[in-house]
């Protein structure tokens, strides 16, 4: 296949970015989307152009590093997968593909398609944990956890912290990310002790980082590669209200 690729190029956070258009030659339908970018980059280097910078690592949909908006959709057209799991069989010969970075005030562009997502780390830092020191844990089966609670916790804990929810939201809200972590820990008895403080501290950190508010567009759930449900946002709102009114 031959493809026309429109890519956002931006030298650094200070300079203005622009779209550049390239032709990607010899693209096989079995390639992953990132392999297509690898091939394009090899072509660019051969022509003496600096390759396109993009974040990637595991290339199997779990590290959360890849962060491309493909034809206007975070992680591209397929539901429930990351950009690295998207394959070129999804496109046709001659297609034009537009690739942009995550766009949100809280995720400033570093270079080309690479953004700074350290805001997520700072939100976790604010309370996304159970404060248990190494060595002080009781025997693992001391506290049974009902299977439905464990399953619900796992549904929320599946979040890979990629930030697609923020990129998809018209308000650049991080509510799904925060809600998923709060739900994961509050579903389990181990997370109960610090629950109220956690909800308040994480929401405060989220606001402080400059993420927007949730106005129920549900674009986050549609874009989430792990299909994390917006029901967790409803629960976050309820938990937050309860924690502030009955501290």
């Amino acid at each position: 296949m031959k493809l026309i690729v429109r890519v956002w190029r931006q030298q650094n956070a200070q300079e203005k970015g622009r779209f550049e258009t390239y032709e990607a030659q010899d693209i096989s339908s079995d390639m992953s989307f990132l392999e297509m970018l690898d091939v394009l980059n090899e072509q660019l280097i051969a022509q003496g152009h600096e390759p396109i910078a993009f974040d990637h690592d595991c290339r199997e949909g779990i590290c959360g590093m890849c962060s491309l908006v493909i034809n206007g959709r975070p992680h591209g057209p397929d539901k429930g997968v990351t950009a690295c799991q998207l394959h070129m069989r999804r496109f046709k010969d001659g297609d034009t593909i537009t690739i942009e970075p995550w766009r949100a005030r809280a995720f400033p562009v570093v270079k080309d398609l690479v953004v700074d997502r350290s805001a997520f780390d700072r939100i976790i830092e604010a309370g996304g944990y159970v404060s248990v020191k190494t060595g002080s844990a009781p025997e693992a089966n001391t506290v049974p956890v009902p299977k439905p609670a464990a399953e619900d916790a796992m549904d929320a804990a599946a979040c890979i912290g990629c930030g697609a929810c923020v990129a998809a939201c018209p308000n650049a809200s991080a509510m799904l990310f925060v809600a998923a972590k709060v739900a994961h820990l509050s579903d389990l008895p181990q997370g109960q002790v610090e629950h109220k403080a956690r909800v308040q501290d994480m929401v405060q950190a989220m606001d402080h980082e400059g993420f927007g508010n949730c106005t129920n567009h549900y674009e986050c759930m549609a874009a989430c590669p792990k299909q994390i449900h917006v029901k967790f946002i409803a629960r976050l709102n309820r938990d937050y209200l309860r924690a502030t009114t009955h501290p």
């Binding site: 990637h56 394959h87 350290s118 944990y129 404060s131 248990v132 190494t134 693992a140 796992m154 890979i160």
Partner: protein, 637 residues
């Protein structure tokens, strides 16, 4: 020099307890005076950094990713072993110890493996307390499943994302310490060298990947938790960023590198689809609990798998290893797949594949159960191949996956350089010549949570805190050397990309030093690597500058180290004239094609010492003494 593993005296089961009592302690008020650097934030690094910070040590943490949560431990799928014996099926610390040492083909240190089995249970306790959502029974108690090389169910799991959940637990513990200002976090920072002063490790040289700034960071001890080196084969199941640079630079500074030829080729990966392939994707070994591996009996049978009747299928693992069947250890399953494909019975493009079949399991258990157990793996397979694994067999083939070799460490996890500790996959550790499934997560967390925090104090208490600062001549010289290397890479301005050199090296390694090795193939590799390395330094092309984010430059630096390290790996493989675990020398096999060890000559850890550029490394041996275990040929029949 003599290689002293510092294994404590006394009965095997009491060594660790007695040793902990003998280790010197740093009093709580003094802990804050000792700084510790931790490089890498996977299971080992994150758990160690969090635990050391909880003890009161100021810790500086470095990772090349944009967040510590993205370290490649995140991709581990199947599970983590522990000797809890919850299923009441006969497990015990002794059995986990024995399975692990046998699985490693009797090439690991007995006392270290025993300790690993001993602390395994505490890891599960710790992770549950952190909120790791392990799979549970309807009763609410923890569930287990089976993995290769074991006849008990001792593996704990969180769907197909166990590594992710364990890492998030360790990451969250780490971020709690960041909030408490006990840990300083440096992301997008790559270690390029080790600072050694008077023979002791006292810091590292780091390149900030966003600004290109090169800085020295000093401390009273350095902990490397930088993972393995499987991408020396180019195609592997590792993340694209995984590299040997940190451990290899430490080796060049004097730390011994142990058993580099022990590499694990994982049997269940999605086969290569084309020349552009950038990585291979693992399908968890847990699939072998319910999936059956087979090939058509007739070579070249072109029918679709579902059209091939039962009698015309060769379930070769079940045939060859009836007592372990599809759960034979990884090295054996991989070699069997290669043998059957070499015999012409392979399936798929190029005949480089075997079937992994869930037809019987789907009939027996029904689709909902299979979805619950393996749903995300099936989805991953469908996404990559465009085929539906619920309707027809999956195709799999072995791929480079894990490095059992690594920097040599003693019982205290300290390398031959005092002050340099090495944990997790980065050390040569506990897996001998082959690692069993669900043991990497166990080892990484054992080192980080429950071993290093005890042993590091015994070193620190003997040193003067803050002895070396960043204005030390060695620190400045390190910065200059690292900067010179970057400038040298940018200055070549040749015609080939770093990627193309990496691919070429990978092909040499896979063809000549992969699943089957011979003196002839290894000598061929040794003849091909140096010219490739010279070509690299003559003709590599790195565009852009060193003063900003430049992924091509990062890759070039890592490939440069792989081009040197590969030679060490091959040299080790050539010297070890026996077959053991993942190291299979075709000259040394039984009449049935199984690995033939030579305990008379090779029951030792091979630790290599760097002698300077262009000089051959010197081999040191740590003899392996077995008190509790009787050395036997591994049998899984």
């Amino acid at each position: 020099m003599t290689l002293d593993p510092k294994v404590p005296a006394g009965p095997l089961a009491e060594k660790w307890d007695q040793h902990r009592l003998a280790l010197k302690l740093v009093n709580p008020a003094n802990k804050r005076k000792y700084r510790v650097i931790v490089v890498g934030t996977g299971l080992a690094g994150a758990s160690a950094a969090a635990s050391l910070a909880e003890l009161g040590y100021p810790v500086e943490v470095f990772c090349f990713q944009d967040s510590p949560r993205r370290a490649h431990s995140i991709a581990a799928q199947g599970g983590i072993n522990a000797a809890k014996n919850y299923p009441n099926d006969g497990d015990s610390i002794d059995r986990l110890f024995y399975d692990t040492i046998k699985g490693g083909d009797f090439r690991s240190r007995e006392a270290s493996v025993y300790r690993l089995a001993q602390v395994s249970n505490a890891i599960i306790d710790q992770c549950v307390a952190q909120g790791v959502p392990f799979a549970r029974e309807y009763s609410g108690y923890l569930a287990n499943r089976s993995f290769g090389g074991a006849q008990v169910s001792r593996t704990f799991y969180a769907r197909g994302q166990t590594g992710q959940q364990l890492l998030l637990g360790a990451y969250q513990a780490l971020m709690r310490q960041v909030a408490l200002k006990q840990v300083t976090l440096h992301t997008r920072s790559e270690m390029l060298d080790l600072i050694v002063v008077d023979g002791e490790a006292k810091g590292i040289i780091v390149r900030n990947l966003l600004t290109g700034q090169m800085t020295a960071h000093t401390a009273d001890a350095v902990v490397l938790a930088t993972g393995g080196y499987s991408p020396v084969f180019y195609l592997s199941t590792n993340a694209k960023g995984c590299n040997v640079t940190a451990t290899y630079r430490a080796y060049k500074q004097g730390a011994f590198f142990a058993n580099p030829c022990y590499t694990q080729i994982h049997p269940t990966c999605i086969p290569v689809s084309g020349h552009y392939q950038s990585k291979l994707t693992l399908m968890s070994e847990s699939l072998r609990n319910d999936g059956r591996i087979w090939v058509p009996k007739q070579a070249g049978d072109a029918r679709a798998p579902q059209d091939i009747p039962e009698v015309e299928r060769d379930y070769y693992l079940e045939r060859k290893y009836p007592s372990y069947g599809n759960l034979a250890p990884r090295d054996i399953a991989s070699r069997s797949a290669k043998a059957i494909c070499d015999a012409g019975q392979g399936v798929g493009p190029g005949g480089q594949g075997v079937y992994l079949d869930f037809r019987d399991a789907l009939q027996r258990l029904g689709r909902p159960v299979i979805e619950e157990r393996y749903g995300n793996l099936f989805q991953m397979y469908a996404q990559i191949t465009g085929e539906d694994p619920y309707r027809s067999s999956m195709r799999i083939y072995p791929a480079a996956h894990y490095a059992m070799g690594g920097l040599w460490v003693d019982y205290n996890l300290m390398s031959t350089l005092p002050g340099l500790f090495v944990i997790g996959e980065a050390n040569f550790a506990d897996h001998g010549a082959n690692r069993l499934g669900a043991s990497a997560l166990m080892q990484g967390l054992a080192d980080g949570y429950f071993i290093l925090p005890y042993t590091i104090g015994d070193y620190l208490v003997r040193t003067k805190p803050g002895a070396v600062q960043t204005d030390h001549p060695k620190a400045r010289a390190g910065v200059d050397t690292a900067r010179a290397q970057v400038n040298r890479l940018l200055a070549v301005n040749g015609s080939r990309t770093p990627e193309s050199f990496h691919r070429e090296l990978g092909k040499i390694m896979w063809d000549h030093c992969g699943m089957a090795r011979s003196a002839e193939s290894l000598k061929a590799a040794l003849a091909q690597i140096p010219p490739l390395r010279e070509a690299f330094w003559r003709d590599v092309k790195v565009l852009g500058s060193g003063a900003q984010l430049n992924q091509s430059l990062e890759q070039a630096g890592r490939v440069a180290d792989f081009l040197e390290f590969a030679e060490l790996l091959v040299q080790d493989a050539l010297h070890r004239e026996e077959s053991c675990g993942g190291h299979f020398r075709v000259e040394h096999q039984t009449s049935e094609g199984e690995a033939q060890r030579d305990d008379e000559r090779f029951a030792y850890v091979a630790a290599w010492q760097h002698q300077g550029a262009g000089k051959p490394s010197v081999l040191h041996q740590e003899p392996l003494q077995f008190e509790a275990v009787h050395l036997a040929q591994r049998s899984y029949k």
